[in-house]
């Protein structure tokens, strides 16, 4: 079998079970592809020994009823703590940190037989939309249309780049404001953020605890369903994880969406939005209508306030979560001068260890939580968040099954192009995705077309809480209708 790394998870699973290929062969093919792709900056800690050991074990237990991901080689975002393997959240402050424990999500993937190829690049502490804030350097989009190197998006940029370039069969991502869906759209792959509480956050380096969720990034919707089933589930170690049964999401993929109601929110029509994005969106609505769904116009009136609310709540939670990086228990400690006390140690350690964007967000969070501003900023943002969620509750109560929007306001941009822009310009990348985190809903990005330059564009579907199966099925139908099969041509 040639081009093993191009297999999808479902195809590889079937080939493994039939004995057409072994996990060791598949894993070795991925490891070679990874070694040849350093120019993409996707894998930042390679773990070939662990991978081959897991692959051999998977081959030994191979049978018709082997676990769902038996022998499937995956990449793991650096935000996940993996036992004995560097887990730095792409930050200098966690230099040298090797967790003594395994995150719940990766434990579940490994229990289902998955193979870990290594750790994937990302924005530092998942704060960014272009993977340019990483201590490891940029991850690069495998898509290219001219001399420029393009961003794979962020924060899960390494995951997106690795999956799009066929370095692994799938990857884990995390999404606080769009960090799975935006990079998936920028690289022509599929990414789903499940309902808040579906995946345990235990062992995932925390950014904004009320918004963070893990999810899969894969080559198609079926693979997303397979991986998501394995990643979800109740965990007593995360008090916000939902004690609900996890259905077999793959079984939900019938492609039949007759009678479903799809909402088109008018507030997502942005002034100055590229006509290509508008066309992609209306084409997507037509595809769902042709498949038997009813497409209706809806209103989510507080959409405009989602980004400002997010940029209060997320930094506030981050400033609290990142207080733990103090140079005492793990990671980097600054070298001190004679006479320096513990305060100097904290201040120098955090100044050296955190990058610029992380420092900025921690300080914004500190400011909005400080005495005298807590009510004006933080409490007000939490009230606006309640209104944003109420908007969604209302349209779902009116019978809408899923909402169709663009995933991003543009195709991938060049690395470095936003360097001179003010931070708000970068934050606008998440304008279509951030509402979903604030409302705790499941959202999926599906590639449905190319722009005039030949770069992938994605559409987002937003589902009802806990209805990932239904959401994946609608996405599956959209994927079938769109027939997006383009791949980047290899230059790396």
């Amino acid at each position: 079998m040639t081009d093993l790394t191009k297999l999808k998870i479902a195809e590889a699973r079937d080939a493994l079970r039939k004995g057409d290929v072994t996990s060791v062969e598949l894993t070795e093919a991925c490891l070679s592809a990874i070694d040849a792709a350093d120019a993409l900056g996707a894998f930042v800690h390679k773990t070939p020994e662990i991978a081959l050991e897991q692959a051999k074990a998977a081959d030994a237990r191979n049978s018709a009823d082997a676990p769902a991901l038996n022998g499937i080689p995956l990449g793991i975002k650096d935000l996940f703590c993996t036992k004995g393997v560097p887990s730095q959240a792409a930050s200098g402050i966690l230099e040298g940190f090797r967790p003594e424990y395994e995150s719940t999500v990766t434990s579940q993937l490994f229990a289902d037989g998955a193979v870990m190829l290594g750790k994937l690049n990302m924005d530092e502490f998942a704060m960014g939309s272009s993977n340019e804030t990483s201590v490891y350097g940029n991850a690069v989009n495998p898509w290219k249309v001219d001399d420029r190197q393009l961003t794979p998006g962020g924060s899960s940029g390494g995951s997106a780049s690795a999956v799009a370039a066929d370095l692994c069969l799938g990857a884990t991502g995390t999404d606080t404001g769009g960090s799975i869906r935006q990079p998936a759209a920028f690289t022509g792959i599929t990414g789903i953020k499940p309902t808040y509480g579906r995946c345990s956050r235990w062992g995932i380096v925390a950014f904004a605890s009320s918004l963070d969720q893990a999810g899969p990034m894969t080559k198609d919707v079926r693979d997303a369903a397979i991986m998501l089933t394995s990643m979800c589930g109740h965990d007593p170690k995360d008090s916000t994880s939902a004690d609900l049964a996890v259905p077999d999401f793959e079984a939900a993929l019938t492609g039949d969406i007759k009678g479903k109601t799809i909402g088109i929110p008018k507030e997502y029509r942005m002034e100055g939005s590229p006509t290509e994005i508008e066309k992609l969106w209306s084409d997507g609505a037509d595809m769902l209508r042709d498949a038997g769904a009813k497409v209706v116009d809806i209103s989510l009136p507080h959409t405009k306030y989602a980004l400002p609310a997010y940029y209060v709540i997320a930094p506030a939670e981050a400033s609290s979560n990142l207080a733990r990086y103090d140079g005492v228990r793990f990671g980097h400690r600054a070298s001190l001068e004679a006479g320096d006390g513990i305060t100097e140690m904290y201040e120098k350690t955090r100044a050296e260890g955190f990058g610029h964007e992380v420092q900025r967000r921690v300080m914004v969070g500190t400011y909005v939580l400080s005495a005298g501003f807590y009510d004006a900023y933080y409490n007000r943002a939490r009230k606006v968040r309640a209104l944003i969620k109420r908007d969604f509750d209302q349209v779902f109560a009116d019978g809408v099954d899923a909402i169709l929007t663009p995933a991003t306001p543009s195709a991938a941009f060049g690395l470095g192009e936003m360097a001179e822009a003010d931070p708000i310009q970068m934050y606008l990348n998440d304008v279509f995705t951030v509402t979903v985190n604030l409302a705790g809903l499941p959202g999926i990005s599906v590639p449905t077309g190319l722009d005039a330059q030949g770069l992938p564009l994605g559409l987002q579907l937003i589902g009802r809480p806990w209805e990932e199966g239904d959401l994946l099925n609608i996405a599956y139908r959209l994927e079938q209708s769109a027939g997006f099969v383009a791949k980047p041509s290899q230059w790396w």
Partner: protein, 95 residues
């Protein structure tokens, strides 16, 4: 709202991040831009709205108040930049 250098200095101190004196004006202007963006929230009528505490309407689980973990001193100290005799070591705190 415009953030002055003094406020930027105070926030950096509260956040325990050392910011050099000459970097404060640029930081203050970045804060001002971000806070200006956030000010849009003042347009929203939030009268009578409760601040969100949990995005899903679940009640937090409870369990017996018993020890479920522990006796992992070596693992806990393994990643410490400076651990001595079973403790985390830090610069002198008490005179």
């Amino acid at each position: 709202m415009s953030i002055d250098t003094e406020t930027a200095r105070r926030v950096a101190k509260l956040a325990r991040i050392k910011v050099e004196e000459d970097a404060l004006p640029a930081l203050a202007s970045e804060f001002s831009a971000i806070l200006g963006f956030i000010e849009q929230l003042n347009e929203v009528d939030v009268e009578g709205v409760e601040p969100m505490t949990s995005v899903t309407p679940q009640r937090l689980k409870r369990r017996e108040d018993v020890v479920t973990d522990g006796s992992q001193q070596a693992a806990v100290l393994k990643n410490a930049p400076d651990a001595r005799e079973g403790f985390f070591a830090v610069p002198k705190v008490v005179e």
